[in-house]
Amino acid sequence: MAYLNGKKGISGRNNLCWGNIIFSAMIIVFVSMLCLGNTVMAGEKLKGKDLYNKYCAPCHGEDGDGYGPLYGALYPKPRDFTKGQYKIRTNPSGSLPTDADLIHVISVGIHGTSMMPWDILDKDQITSLLPVLKSFSEAWQYREPEPSVVLGPELRSTQKTIARGRELYFQKECWKCHGETGEGDGPSSYDLEDEWGIPIQAYNFTRQDKFKGGATNKDIYLRFTTGVNGTPMPSFANELSDEDRWCMVHFVKSLATKTNKEDHAE
């Protein structure tokens, strides 16, 4: 193509030229010489890293910044691990997730997104990914994940609890984002952004099969209790009593007209 002048690939971000290749080769040699002393440590870490690079990096990026080669095609966007912000947890708002939380999310996936359940990997493999994820954010050096919240006994779903949930839904102005009928079309739903500056949709409660953190009562209860870090969805642990949060769960579930229930709370 005579007219092309330095045409880049469409992703355009890997512009390799000989200078770069030789330079990186020199660095690799240098670094590997430095690391020769502690090969055992490096070897151990490499186990999870290989797995990560093979199965996670295409979306989440080799550096865990959520900017893998498939980034452009995906919505919702792959999680950027560098901020230490995790949506699906069992512990209080703002906390790092527990190891069990991470294992849970990797094993069951995130509904409504391309994050599938990685039950195809065995448990050791999933566990080996944890240090890799943690290596992406400094947060893990300075903070400890808080312990999981204790679940009270689940309130039974009755007309009364649903009505109470409905009352709270309007009182707490949930409808402003999620809409009066839970379709995600409230007046504030148009301007929501997550911490990464990416527009974010208020959840449409009528689509039960796509609750990101799972659609069991316990899953939904946990979202109200722990909040969804990195998004405008706060925790209601302090504002609402345990019973009220269960009432909210029952009301939200009553909005789900599509019943494609997928239990995966454990």
Partner: protein, 583 residues
């Protein structure tokens, strides 16, 4: 004691302050309780535009003068009252409507007009404006609007849109009027300016800020431009997609809403989409598409099996859709040359120091790569990202090669002009449209020193070829200007290149080739032959075989008659090379 005194003083003061504040707030409250009259809040549709914009596009002048920088040089067509109501609407003078407005007789509007414009009244009666709680969705939207304007809406009737209660006159509603309630939509529409032309909000600017527009009026040809006004009238009107008087969002979500404007030889969007698999499947299965749903809530696959114009172009990334249609535009119209290839013709110097036309497009800039990612976000609703990237990458390749072909053609014409072989020569034919006024009206800051000097010293006898201003060849025919070779070239880059582009971008294989590349080849062939013919005749002439022929077909030497050849400061290069010449 002292301490107690001080405390007393403090408490008294504090009480006093509280009392004052309280009385103040009570007063303020009482004032509010008197129920202030409702004052509509309109969004300035040209918010964020340069200062010169509103006085020449917004301030109403009726039909007495034009719009834009050439406003004093043409009189608008009468229908501009409706196409550009902010600027050109004049109140009707047959029947005085002020009485109905003064007495706010909304009922009489309907009574009378039901007998005149039964169709319009019927449309309105079927609309959400007539019944703002028609469906649960519309009721929810109405509630949001009511909260934002602080007023209950029973319905939106003729009076709300058409009655100017300050002047007691009938008005033609435009985007600012709509913004009273639909502020978000108008602000999103306004945001198109952030991406530059072409867009909807600056459509009228693009219509009348081209020199061939006042030239058409000067020569008595303006009525021919009515179609231009009709398409470009979208800049301040909200009814081209959701048409009056039903204003149905579902209608605007149907691709047919776009097709009256987005069709034809320079942008066959309707044809290329409509005849693609995307468009055909929609046509075959239209009843299964749900146009009642806002785009953000459409269940892809289930409710839209293939995408629509709106679904692709209103998408802003992150699952959101707005009234900004141009935020993902990379190749835009298909006319502005990319900076990623090397040119042999004067295209290498594009945009020639002219500040009012877009600079070359860097298809691989970070901004454009991000836009490409957003396109692939759309495509990935149904296709694999690999398929989508591969297809769009191929579109880039087509565009690079198409610009390569037009570059070859432009080189031929550039050379003819530079060697003074173009026949008749630029000095011996009519001016560039409005070329005698260009230097007077457009300062060097806008069009660049070189171009300005050329127009100033040559009074418009300036050769202009290729993107963007060379497109005059498609809109103007002075005496021998443009010549056949220039028109053929304009068709090559402004018709066939764009047809192939849209065919490619909208996945219509036949338009891609038979409306695109194949006719581009034919144009290149014509340009090559025409160039050779001129060179041959020039050579014969030089040998003394033939006398130069008078170029004025009318035989008259008045007006734009040709000065004698060598004596005239004849430009011997495309205007773009004027800098190198010594005037």
């Amino acid at each position: 004691m002292n301490y107690a005194k001080k405390l007393m003083l403090f408490v008294t003061m504090a009480l006093l302050v509280i009392a004052i504040q309280f009385s103040g707030s009570v007063l303020a409250h009482d004032e509010k309780a008197e129920k202030e009259p409702y004052v509509p809040k309109f969004v300035d549709i040209y918010e964020g535009f340069p200062d010169w914009y509103s006085p020449v596009f917004k301030d109403n002048v009726g039909l007495s003068e034009g719009a834009g920088l050439f406003k004093d040089y043409y009189k608008p067509l009468k229908m501009q009252m409706y196409m550009s109501p902010m600027r050109h609407y004049e109140p009707m003078d047959i029947l005085d409507h002020s009485l109905f407005i003064e007495k706010e007789r909304r009922d009489l509007c309907i009574r009378c007009h039901d007998g005149i414009n039964t169709g319009a009244v019927h449309d309105w009666k079927g609309s959400a404006h007539f019944n703002p709680r028609k469906t649960p969705l519309i009721a929810r939207k109405t509630k949001i609007i009511e909260e934002s304007i602080g007023r209950e809406i029973i319905n939106v009737d003729c009076f709300d849109c058409h009655a100017d209660t300050e002047k007691n006159e009938i008005r033609m509603p435009h985007a600012e009027i709509c913004s009273e309630c639909h502020e978000r939509q108008v602000r999103q529409f306004n945001s198109e300016k952030n991406h530059g032309r072409p867009n909807h909000i600056q459509a009228m600017e693009a219509n009348v800020l081209v020199p061939w527009y006042p030239e058409a009026d000067r020569r008595g040809w303006l009525a021919g431009n009515a179609g231009c006004d009709m398409c470009h009238g979208i800049s301040t009107k909200c009814d081209p997609c959701h048409t009056r008087h039903s204003f149905s969002a579902a209608e605007a979500r149907n691709p047919k809403a776009c097709m009256t404007c987005h069709m034809g030889p320079d942008h066959p969007d309707a044809e290329s989409y409509g005849e693609s698999k995307h468009g055909m499947i929609l046509e075959m299965e239209e009843e299964s598409y749900n146009f009642d749903k806002p785009l953000a809530h459409v269940q892809v696959g289930e409710e839209y099996r293939t995408p629509t114009c709106q679904f692709c172009h209103m998408y802003q990334g992150g699952g959101t859709f707005t009234h900004n249609f141009v935020s993902k535009g990379i190749w835009r119209m298909g006319t502005v040359p990319p900076s990623n290839i090397e040119y042999k013709s004067s295209l290498k110097d594009y945009p020639y120091g002219i500040n009012i036309i877009a600079p070359k497009i860097d298809v691989y800039s970070d901004e454009n790569l991000d836009k490409r990612d957003k396109w692939v976000e759309v495509c990935s609703n149904c296709h694999s990202p690999r398929f989508a990237y591969t297809y769009l990458e191929q579109l880039d390749d087509y565009m690079f090669q198409a610009f390569g072909l037009t570059d070859q053609a432009q080189k031929i014409i550039d050379d003819l002009i530079a060697e003074d072989i173009l026949y008749p020569s630029v000095a011996e034919r009519d001016i560039y449209p409005f070329g005698d006024k260009v230097a007077e009206l457009l300062p060097p800051e806008l069009i660049g020193e070189g171009v300005y000097n050329a127009f100033k010293s040559l009074g418009g006898k300036v050769p202009v070829v290729g993107p963007i201003l060379g497109v005059y060849a498609m809109f103007y025919q002075g005496e021998n200007n443009p010549s056949v070779i220039e028109t053929e070239y304009a068709k090559m880059w402004f018709w066939y290149k764009l047809q192939g582009y849209k065919g490619y971008a909208h996945a219509q294989q036949d338009i891609m080739w038979w409306w695109g590349q194949a006719p581009m080849f034919q144009q290149l062939g014509k340009i090559q032959s025409e160039g050779l013919r001129m060179r041959r005749e020039h050579a014969l002439e030089q040998r003394g075989g033939a006398q130069p022929v008078s170029h004025s077909s009318s035989g008259s030497s008045e007006g734009h008659a040709a000065p004698k050849k060598k004596s005239s400061g004849v430009p011997t290069g495309n205007v773009w090379e004027v800098d190198e010449l010594n005037y």
